[in-house]
Amino acid sequence: MIIQFICRAILLGVPLLYGSTGEIITEKSGHLNLGIPGIMYVGAISGVVGSFIYENSCNNDIAQMNAFLAVIIPLLCAIAGSVIMGLIYCFLTVTLHANQNVTGLALTTLGIGLGNFLGASLINITKSELPSIALTKTSSFFATKLPFADKLGWFGELFFSHDFLTYLAIAVAIISAIVLNKTRVGLNLRSVGENPATADAAGINVIRYRYVATCIGSAVAGIGGLQYVMSYASGVWSNNAFGDRGWMAIALVIFALWKPSFAIVGSFVFGALCNANNYIQGLGTETQELFKMLPYVVTIIVLVITSMRKKREHQPPANLGLNYFREER
C-alpha cells in the first residue's frame, strides 16, 4: 500500500519534474516563461502525432514496430514541438523585447489551443467513438521496465519498476544541477539571469545564452508532456486531460528554490500531495477538490518562509522577467 502510494507519487511527479527542471533552466537565464503549460502540452501532442504516424506506417501492428524507433520518434517530435515554442518565446522577448509575462501567457493559450486542435483532428482521422486516441503500442515500448525489478520485491518495485523516462528525468535534473553550479557555462548562465548588464560587460553573449537556455528548458518541459501521455495515461490522449500540471511545474520551481536537485524531491512531494485524496477514505467530492489544492498551499507556505528568511541565495534570479537591451539609457 505504502509502496504503491510512493510509486504512484513518483509517476505523478515525473511530468512536474521535467516541467520544473525545464523552467529552472529557463528562469536561470532571466526568462520567466509562463508558457510552460502550453509548451508541455505542445510537447505532448507533438509526440502523440509522431507516434500516431509511426504506428500507422507499421499498419498498427506491434510486430512490425521497432522498439528504438517507437521511442525515439515521439521523443524527437516532442522535443521539436516544444523547442519551436521556446523559439517563439525567445524571438518575442529577446529580439522584439515583448513583455515576458504576456508572451508566456499567450504561449500557454496558444499551446493548449494547438494541442486540442491537433488532438481533435487525430480523433477525427481515426473516427474513434471515444474522444481520445489510444497509442497503447507505443506506450508499451515506453513502459519497458528493468528486467530484474520484479525479482527484488518491494525494493525493486520502489526503485527499479519505473519507465526509463523517470530515470531520465532524474538524470536531467542532476545534470542540470551540476552544470548550473559547477561549470563555467552554468556560472555564465546564472550571471545572465542575475545581472545581464554585468554578463554582457564580461563578454558573455546574453542573447545566445537566453535563446539556448530557454530552448533547452522548453525541450525538457516538452518531454514531461510526452511522459504524461505515454506513461501516466498509458498512451491515451484526450483533450485537456493534462490539466493544470504545467502550472504546478511552475509552482514547483518556487518550491524547489530554483534548484534542480530540490526539484527532484519536490516533484515527488507534489505527486504525493496530488494523490493523497485517493488514499484517504471517505472524502466527499468537495473535500477532494480541497486536497487538490495542497501543492499550491505548500508552495505558498514555502514562499512565506523563504521571504521571511530573506536569504539571498534562495531568491529568484534578480533579473527574472526583465528583458535586456544593451544600448538602453
Binding site: N188, A199, A201
Partner: protein
C-alpha cells in the same frame, strides 16, 4: 615604455537618436601615465569610455591601440585589447562570490575556481589589495566591491584601465588608498584613465587632464601646469565662482528635535540606533556617512514613512510655537506642517518623481489634493513647472516631456525645485547634487543657502565631504545607524569626518555638542 601612446581616439562621434553625445573627440592616453577625463555631467565622458570598452560602438571615427587601428565591437573585443573598465555602477552579480565574479566570462580552458582563486590572491598581493575571495558581493561594502571590480580587470590582464568616477562612493581614507594603488599600477607601466568631476582629485592624482564639454573635446593639459580655475573654465566654458557663500545662522531656534529614535527594518536589523539631534531654523545641518548607514531611514522617519520602534520626533511650529509630536502623524499631515523631503536616490527617479509623467504632472503630484472641483486644474502646476524650468535652467524640450527623458541633472533640478517651491519650514535634501555638473551643483547650493536665510531648517545629506564642510553649519556623522559625532562645519576637516564615518563603535556620542 613611458609616453608611448596606448590608446588614441580620432574624430570619434556618437549619437543617440538626435542627441549628440560625442562629437569629433580626439584623445591620446599614454602608458605609464594617469589621464583624467574631466567634464560636467552630460559632457559625454562615460559614453566615450563605453565606446573604448565595447559597450557602445562609435558612429564615426577610429580608435587606435598601440598605434594600430582597433575595432572594438563588444566588451569581449575590448578585453582582447587588454582594456578594462571599472564602471561607476558596479557590474557585479550580487549572489556570486568575489572569485566567481572575477572569473565570470573568461574562456581559458578548464573551469577551475581553486586555481583561479590562487591567481586572484597573487594579484591582490602584488598591488596591495585586501580581498576575501569567498565573500558574497551582497555582503560587501562599496569599497570592497570596487576592489573586486579592479581585480576583475587586472585578472584579465588589462593594461589599459578606465575608472568611471571611482571615488564618488568612497571615504577620503579609502580614496587615498585607491590612489596609492593606481599610482603603483602607473609605475608598473599601465595606462590609467580616470573619469571624474572632482577637481582636487584630478590635481592630486593625474599626470594629464583631458577636458570635455558638451560632447566636444576641449583640450589636454599637463596637471603640473594648471590649476582649479583654469580647469573649471575649460569645463564650463566660462569663469565661475567656486566659493559657497556660507552666512552665519541668525535667530536660530529649535525646529525639529529628534529624541533617541530607533528603527528596525523588515528583516529585524536595527537601521537607526538611538539617534538624537536637533535641527534649527536658519541653519544647514549636514549628514555625512558611508552610503546605507541609515541616512535614508533617518529622513524617512522624519517624513513619517518609517515606523519608529522607540523614541519621538518633535516639531516646533514657527507661527504658534507649539510643540507637536510627529510620531502619530501621517506623511500627508507631516508634509502639510511644512516638513519637506527631497530624496535623490541612485536611480534619481525613485520615490520623488514619476518617470513617465511630464514635469507639469509631477508638480501636480504634490498639489492635486488641494483642488476643490472634480476636474484637475492644470494652470497652477503648469506655471510652477515653467518657473522651475526658467529659474533653474532645466534643459527640456517642453514642460510636457516625460521626466524620464531628461538627463539626470535636470531631473534633480525639477525634484529639488518642486520641494523648495512649497516654501517649507524644514527641508530635507538627500544627495541633491548627485551626478550634477558644477554649475547646477552651485545653483542648488545657492538655493539651499537662500532657504536658510529665510529661516528654513535644512537637513542636507551629502556624499562629497568637500561640499559638506563648505556648506553646512553643523555636520552630523552617522555610521551603521548610530551617530558617530556632530561637528562644527566651520572648524572641522574632511579627514576628521572621514575618521568618524568609519568609526565602528558607539563611543562617538559624547562629543554631541549640537
Amino acid at each position: 615604455m613611458a609616453t608611448q601612446p596606448a590608446i588614441e581616439l580620432k574624430n570619434i562621434t556618437k549619437k543617440f537618436g538626435k542627441v549628440v553625445a560625442n562629437k569629433n573627440v580626439n584623445l591620446t592616453a599614454n602608458r605609464g601615465e594617469i589621464l583624467s577625463i574631466l567634464g560636467e555631467n552630460g559632457s559625454g565622458k562615460t559614453t566615450l569610455m563605453n565606446m573604448i570598452s565595447g559597450i557602445y560602438f562609435p558612429d564615426e571615427g577610429e580608435i587606435r591601440i598601440d598605434g594600430k587601428e582597433a575595432l572594438i565591437a563588444s566588451p569581449k573585443d575590448a578585453f582582447d585589447y587588454k582594456i578594462g573598465m571599472i564602471h561607476q555602477h558596479f557590474k557585479l552579480v550580487d549572489v556570486f562570490s568575489a572569485a566567481e565574479n572575477i572569473v565570470l566570462g573568461i574562456e581559458d580552458g578548464k573551469y577551475n575556481l581553486k586555481k583561479s582563486t590562487d591567481d586572484i590572491k597573487r594579484i591582490s598581493a602584488q598591488y596591495g589589495f585586501n580581498l576575501d575571495t569567498e565573500k558574497k558581493i551582497y555582503t560587501m561594502s562599496v569599497s570592497e566591491k570596487q576592489t573586486v571590480e579592479i581585480i576583475k580587470v587586472l585578472y584579465r590582464g588589462a593594461d589599459i584601465l578606465i575608472l568611471d568616477e571611482p571615488t564618488a562612493v568612497l571615504t577620503p581614507q579609502e580614496t587615498e588608498k585607491l590612489f596609492d594603488i593606481l599610482r603603483r599600477m602607473r609605475d608598473d607601466g599601465k595606462c590609467i584613465i580616470i573619469i571624474t568631476h572632482k577637481l582636487h582629485e584630478v590635481l592630486s592624482l593625474s599626470d594629464k587632464v583631458a577636458v570635455l564639454r558638451k560632447g566636444e573635446y576641449i583640450g589636454t593639459v599637463n596637471t603640473a601646469e594648471t590649476n582649479e580655475s583654469e580647469l573649471t573654465e575649460m569645463m564650463v566654458g566660462k569663469k565661475i565662482d567656486l566659493n559657497i557663500e556660507r552666512s552665519v545662522p541668525e535667530n536660530t531656534e529649535d525646529r525639529l528635535v529628534v529624541n533617541s529614535i530607533t528603527c528596525v527594518d523588515r528583516v529585524g536589523t536595527t537601521v537607526l540606533d538611538n539617534v538624537s539631534f536637533t535641527a534649527k531654523s536658519g541653519e544647514i545641518l549636514g549628514i555625512a556617512g558611508i552610503a546605507g548607514s541609515g541616512q535614508r531611514e533617518l529622513l524617512e522617519s522624519i517624513a513619517g514613512l518609517q515606523r519608529l520602534e522607540y523614541g519621538d520626533i518633535f516639531y516646533f511650529d514657527p507661527q504658534t510655537g507649539k510643540k507637536e509630536s510627529l510620531r502619530d502623524k501621517t506623511p500627508m499631515q507631516i508634509r502639510n506642517m511644512g516638513v519637506r523631503l527631497s530624496f535623490v536616490p541612485e536611480d534619481r527617479l525613485g520615490m520623488g518623481l514619476v518617470g513617465n509623467m511630464d514635469i507639469v504632472d509631477n508638480m501636480m503630484l504634490r498639489s492635486y489634493s488641494k483642488g476643490r472641483s472634480f476636474f484637475l486644474k492644470r494652470k497652477p502646476p503648469k506655471d510652477l513647472a515653467m518657473k522651475i524650468i526658467n529659474d533653474l535652467e532645466v534643459v527640456t524640450p517642453s514642460a510636457n516631456t516625460p521626466v524620464r527623458r531628461l538627463s539626470g541633472g535636470n531631473v534633480q533640478k525639477v525634484l529639488v525645485g518642486r520641494e523648495i517651491a512649497a516654501s517649507p519650514t524644514v527641508l530635507m535634501v538627500a544627495y541633491p547634487v548627485r551626478g550634477l555638473d558644477i554649475n547646477s551643483s552651485y545653483m542648488i547650493y545657492n538655493l539651499l543657502n537662500e532657504q536658510k536665510k529665510q529661516g528654513v531648517a535644512i537637513i542636507f545629506v551629502g556624499e562629497d565631504l568637500d561640499v559638506l564642510v563648505e556648506l553646512c553649519d553643523r555636520i552630523m556623522v552617522i555610521g551603521s545607524g548610530k551617530i558617530n559625532g556632530i561637528v562644527d562645519g566651520r572648524t572641522t576637516t574632511k579627514e576628521e569626518i572621514g575618521l568618524l564615518m568609519t568609526k565602528s563603535d558607539s563611543d562617538g556620542k559624547e562629543n554631541d555638542n549640537g
